[in-house]
């Protein structure tokens, strides 16, 4: 049992537990905080895999950006101390059945499947490589998506503004 293993199991346990708490917690703000924990643990997994850039983005954008956004909106729309009533039991059972059966199916297939790893030599996964590839227009270069997403963000921003803006 190496430290890596322990760390992995820790992250894994945190992710699963906090995920479950996120979708079951009866206080909305707590749910948001649990989500934050999940996202942070995920970032931990990325670190564990040595994907620092990804982990950084995860922390900055996800944990920092989205969760904060969510919390703001919670503050705008809900009372902090409001406790949810539990959803109807039949709904929960149906949803759980669907989710569990889907999960069972997926896990079964994942575990049965023999993954074939790539044969080419691995490339080094550092900031330079990421930077190069992000701006490359060659194969395995990601300049185009990087540009296009800006259009998406612009459009999304305008969209969010016209909706959220108090109209006449």
């Amino acid at each position: 049992m190496t430290a890596y293993k322990i760390m992995f199991y820790l992250f894994a346990a945190m992710i699963i537990v906090f995920s479950i708490l996120t979708v079951t917690s009866r206080r909305i703000l707590r749910a948001a905080v649990f989500l934050l924990f999940v996202l942070i643990s995920t970032a931990g997994l990325y670190f564990w895999l040595d994907y620092q850039f990804m982990a950084g983005v995860q922390l900055a954008l996800y944990a920092g950006g989205i969760v904060v956004l969510i919390i703001f909106s919670i503050l705008l729309t809900s009372h902090i101390d409001q406790k949810f009533t539990q959803p109807h039991w039949s709904k929960r059972i149906m949803a759980a059945t669907a989710a569990l059966s889907g999960m069972g199916l997926c896990l079964l297939l994942f575990l049965q499947h023999t993954f074939v790893p790539g044969t080419n030599p691995p490339i080094k996964n550092d900031m330079t490589a990421i930077g190069t590839q992000l701006l490359s227009t060659e194969h395995n270069g990601f300049a185009l998506p990087f540009e296009v997403i800006s259009i998406l963000l612009l459009a999304a921003m305008i969209a969010a503004i016209i909706i959220a803006k108090k109209g006449k």
């Binding site: 199916l105 997926c106 297939l109 994942f110 049965q112 499947h113 993954f115 074939v116 790893p117 790539g118 490359s136 227009t137 060659e138 194969h139 395995n140 270069g141 990601f142 300049a143 185009l144 998506p145 296009v148 997403i149 259009i151 998406l152 612009l154 459009a155 999304a156 305008i158 969209a159 969010a160 503004i161 016209i162 909706i163 109209g167 006449k168």
Partner: protein, 473 residues
């Protein structure tokens, strides 16, 4: 970026230009003169549309992430024409005071969505595909809620974004599995490395579910009706024509290129989906009273027919799908155009309000009838040809029973289209919709649609052109 690249990507780049120009115009036009944006945007877009038709290069860019072919360009042009018609139709709606503050935003969002679609159908890998898909969808969700002073519109927006987020989550999960089993996100590489395995099938099915959501195939269609009903008419027509057409096209391209070795299986997946879609779509459409909701279900049923073309899995199939989309653009937009005009003038959207309309507004009624006949596939209007070729495509693969079911479904669809015709022509009404004059843009849009409905069917060169550009498995 050199000229060649520009020419290859001219649709996207010019469109971005249009968006920026509109944005600039917005900045420079005084707040009480915002409606001047409308002609500017229309003219810009018209120019862009015309430029799109000019012959230009095709090719692959960004190491395979972006690819285009003459067929793709043709399809983009079809979408452009559709969007142009929609813009024409929306002009008088945008002129209303209540929308005054948000005219240029409307254009920006709509055109951004179109950019997303253009990228989507030009995608050469799953990342660009997914990105295009989201770019096309996310801004649109805001447009669905554009009439934000209306509960229905708000409801449409939230339903759209949440269900589309769920669907893209599932789609993404499927893509991740594809990536895990094949080791690439590029279409060509995936196609090479594709080995059928249960896990791959799972990924594929998740992918299909996600796509089915966009094309609104049963049982992934539930959002459609609510969103179509709640959204402003012009947004609905954009959703039902442009959005759906683009998604269907890229779906077909991906099936043909990436999953060609699975064609046996996806043929059967589509078999099931198309039967479900046509039948359920029709069953729901039968009892609708709200015109937008009615057209929503009708467009669901139409999507089921499109699948028949895809199942042909050949040049013929591809031709028939593109051709059908072309026909569908004009027919459906004509129908939506009429709904939009009436909704603008009177605010009425129920089928019962249309009772006796022929006596007061004969031209609108006739256009509506032609459009519905075209949707139902009645000759001599174009819809007949479109459907006929779709069925030919399915029959060419021996799916005769499916064709039978489909044509019977077309008969059922005729039933509810005729209900509208009946309302307009036959039903008596003491107070039918008053006679009114529609604006220039509305009329222009409808004339284009009607011309299209009549011309496309008989004009075989169009069909032959598409045929020449199409490819099969």
């Amino acid at each position: 970026m050199n000229l060649d690249q520009f020419l290859i990507m001219r649709h996207e780049l010019l469109l971005i230009g249009v968006v920026l120009l509109v944005l600039i115009a917005e900045l420079f036009i005084k707040s009480d003169k915002k409606h001047h944006v409308i002609p500017i945007a229309l003219i810009l877009f018209l120019l862009y549309t015309i430029v799109g038709f000019l012959p230009a290069k095709t090719g692959v860019l960004f190491g395979g992430m972006y690819q285009t072919s003459e067929l793709v360009i043709l399809f983009k042009n079809i979408l452009n024409v559709a969007v142009f018609i929609i813009l024409l139709q929306s002009a008088s709606w945008l002129r209303k005071d209540i929308n005054h503050e948000r005219i240029s935003e409307f254009y920006i969002i709509l055109l951004s969505s179109l950019i997303g679609m253009n990228f989507m159908i030009s995608a050469g890998d799953f990342l660009m595909f997914y990105l295009g898909l989201e770019t096309a969808t996310i801004p649109l969700t805001a447009l669905a809620a554009f009439d934000k002073y209306k509960n229905k519109s708000a409801e449409a927006g939230i339903k759209f974004i949440l269900s589309s987020a769920l669907s893209s989550g599932i789609l993404l999960f499927g893509l991740s599995i594809l990536y895990g089993t094949t080791g690439s996100i590029y279409f060509t590489e995936v196609a090479e490395k594709l080995v059928a395995s249960p896990l791959l099938v799972l990924g594929f099915i998740f992918f299909v579910s996600g796509m089915s959501f966009k094309i609104s195939l049963v049982p992934f269609h539930f959002w459609t009706a609510d969103v179509y009903e709640g959204a402003p008419v012009n947004v609905t027509s954009f959703l039902s024509v442009v959005s759906k057409g683009a998604a269907a096209f890229i779906f077909m391209v991906i099936l043909f290129t990436v999953f060609k070795s699975l064609s046996n299986m996806w043929g059967d997946v589509l078999y099931l989906l198309s039967i479900l879609t046509m039948t359920i779509g029709n069953l729901f459409a039968m009892r609708q009273k709200n015109m937008k909701r009615f057209l929503a279900f009708s467009s669901i049923a139409q999507a089921g027919f499109i699948l028949l073309g895809i199942m042909g899995a050949s040049e013929l199939g591809m031709t028939s799908v593109v051709y059908f989309v072309l026909v569908y653009v004009f027919s459906n937009l004509a129908a939506f155009g009429v709904v939009s005009v009436i909704s603008d003038k009177t605010g009425l959207e129920s089928m019962d309000d249309y009772n006796g309309m022929y006596r007061t507004n004969p031209k609108l009624s006739l256009i509506m009838m032609l459009a519905l006949f075209s949707l139902a596939g009645i000759p001599p209007v174009a819809g007949f040809f479109g459907k006929f070729f779709l069925f030919t495509s399915a029959a060419s693969k021996g799916y005769y029973w499916l064709v039978l079911i489909a044509v019977l479904n077309a008969t059922v669809s005729l039933y509810y289209y005729l209900l509208v015709v009946k309302a307009m022509f036959i039903n008596k009404n003491d107070a039918p919709i008053a006679k009114f004059k529609s604006t220039f843009t509305d009329r222009l849009a409808l004339i284009i649609c009607v011309a299209g409905i009549f011309a496309i069917g008989f004009a075989s060169p169009i069909y032959e052109l598409i045929r020449k550009l199409s490819f099969g498995l």
